[in-house]
Amino acid sequence: MILKEYKYELGKIERGYNNRSLYINVGDNTIKEKEVTQFMKDKFIGGKGFGLWYLWNAVTPETRWNDPENEIVIAHGPVAGITQYPGSGKSLVVTLSPLTHMPMDSNVGGYFGPYLKFSGFDALELQGKAEKDVIIYIDGNKGIVQIMESDIEEKDSHLLSEILTERFAKDEEDKKNISVVSTGSAADHTLIGLLNFSFYDIRRKGVRLKQAGRGGIGTVFRDKKIKALVVRFEGTKGNLNNPADQGKINRTGIKLHKEICDLDDKQNRMRKIGTANIIEVMDEYDLLPTHNYKFGCHKDTYKISSDKFQARVTQGLPDGCWYGCSLSCAKAADDFIPETGPYKGQKVIVDGPEYENAAALGSNIGVFDRDGVLELNFYCDTYGVDTISFGTLTAFVMECYENGILDKEKTGGLELYFGNKEAALELLHQMSRGEGFGKIAGLGIRRMKKIFIEEYGADADFLNDIGMEQKGLEYSEYLSKESLAQQGGYGLTNKGPQHDEAWLIFMDMVNNQIPTFEDKAEALHYFPMFRTWFGLMGLCKLPWNDIAPEDNKYTDEPAKIPEHVQNYVDIFNGVTGKNIDKHELIVQSERVYNFQRIFNIRMGYGKRIHDKTPYRSMGPVTEEEYLSRQERYDKQLKELVGFDPEGKTTQEKMAALRKYREEQYERLTDAVYKRRGWTMDGVPTIEKLKEIGMDLPELIEVVKKHL
């Protein structure tokens, strides 16, 4: 039953912009168009810039994630939707997160973003709360937006996406013109719900899912009683952005296709196995998170190494999550048969595993079982659960269990020790059903710590040390313990410890390329700013550095992949007709990055105290951990701390090392804040805002109170 229908004039994209956005309130069924102003384009560009701007104007500092005023904003960006350059179909999703209570931004593939763009809109705002589940449908060829009551019983994404693709497509041929945004049953019962964005795989004749994983956006979606968003657009061509210089875009795209064709096999093998190619590498370098980040390797990692997954995922298919992505990293295991749960015995497609899943659902929880990882991956995706948060919180739970903080009585019978695959799966199924210990686990680590301390009498210091969350968000799957730069790369972020801002472990620990505080601060300025840019454009970062030109290693700054930076400048200028260079690119990001920091401050966070990190992310919490790296730690104590380990107890050595590392982190924080133009409390100064052209009255009003 259609609750509201809105007809709109089809338009034309001009140099990457429709210059309008779509606003939908599912509480009162308002549907309207809004102008995308020159101011928005100048200051916020697109993508998460638009998302943050719309969200800022929708909420007050008192707004909670489950208030009707909270918005979910989906925006692509000016470059998104071109078909020639790999990784050009991304969307950015922004909302107030149930985990962090601050703005969360998440980057996701699939066809929804480009189709939303071709339908006529630079962003989609979703506000309000419906009384009963609704489905929103956008027909980008007819110029119709509909809010309809949902008549669908199924709750899980792999079914919802299939059903809705089938329902709205004219015929089999038309299915590739549909994209569905949905989540799953667990998003109704946990705070770690994600959004799945679909694309139809014409060769597999099945739906593929990409994830806006972090931060509980799917939970907000379900809180608004939105069942799904569906967009239909027929007529994708390479020039729908009406770019200023189509030829330049084509040539740059072809150059990268050729590079990937010639070099991917001997570089990262993305076309064969995607990001999972680094599983065994991380293990070899003692960086694979194992047993709640206690260790960096395990004797059984070979059971989940990339070749085990490569054997299971179907090779040779164009797996790009938008047209023109020849990096094609979205691998899928076909005809997978789950052994547990509601889809036990049925053939399903498992989209994955990405590296994060192999670590989160594998080594970090001790499950060294390829098919176990795939089954956890499948159920997380279809239930709408963030694999990273699930893995990291389950690892926390397992360590609590092994330390006697939890027991069978508290977990309702689940024996959650490291490596118990069945218990991990059952925990996930409980999240879907909304019952048992799964409900508690699904609240996330921060809330679990509070419960375990207050209700089970657990030691607060220990839990705060081992609970790998910061700002309320679970850490993603890299071991920052021995890399001060990566501790900052995780801890000094806007949204929480997600690695999309900076990934510096090798540069720091292995290559030793950023030895001083200033070097690290420079890296923690450049890389977050550079990587933020992808989120303004609707681009994927993988084609930036998961493939590199043959001669890249001979350039001045190989870690930046200079030729690819120029590619991005070229395609941005090629679409928009502007004339930026690689420096202006950074300033574009700085504007949005500082805006997000101030938004965090406005919501009551965003200061130095919130940038502190759990000790497990910085050093050995337990004797077990110290002893596993004793030689290295003893040497550091002697050489760096000036503390002679001879004759000292492990406890004494751990205390000395901890003091040193915590001081180092403070000094790093000082250096980074200085480089970013912030006060020592982490507040952007008015001078900095003026420098980047973001001295907006609403921002000055917020920072004034904290300067």
Binding site: K266, Q267, N268, T275, I278, V281, E284, Y285, Y355, E356, S476, E477, Y478, H499, D500, W503, I505, F506, M507, V510, N511, N512, Q513, P515, L542, N545, D546, A548, N552, K553, Y554, P558, A559
Partner: protein
């Protein structure tokens, strides 16, 4: 003694680049090696000899997540 990525490392007689990579457990394929500022081509890893006192850089081009 040689320097590898700015840190001291024991040298052995007849040490090739390949041998150094083995000793350091640098198994990642995308590595650039420089000896005293000079790039060493991948094809030379098995034959190029490192001398006592050399400064080696082994830069891993790791993209990460």
């Amino acid at each position: 003694m040689i320097q590898v990525n700015g840190k001291e490392f024991p040298w052995e007689e007849g040490m090739t680049v390949r041998r150094l990579l083995e000793l350091k457990k640098y198994s990642y394929p995308r590595i650039t090696v420089k000896i005293n500022g000079q790039f060493i081509r991948d094809e030379e890893f098995d034959t190029k000899v490192i001398h006592d006192g050399d400064e080696i850089q082994c830069i891993h081009l790791m993209a990460g997540g």
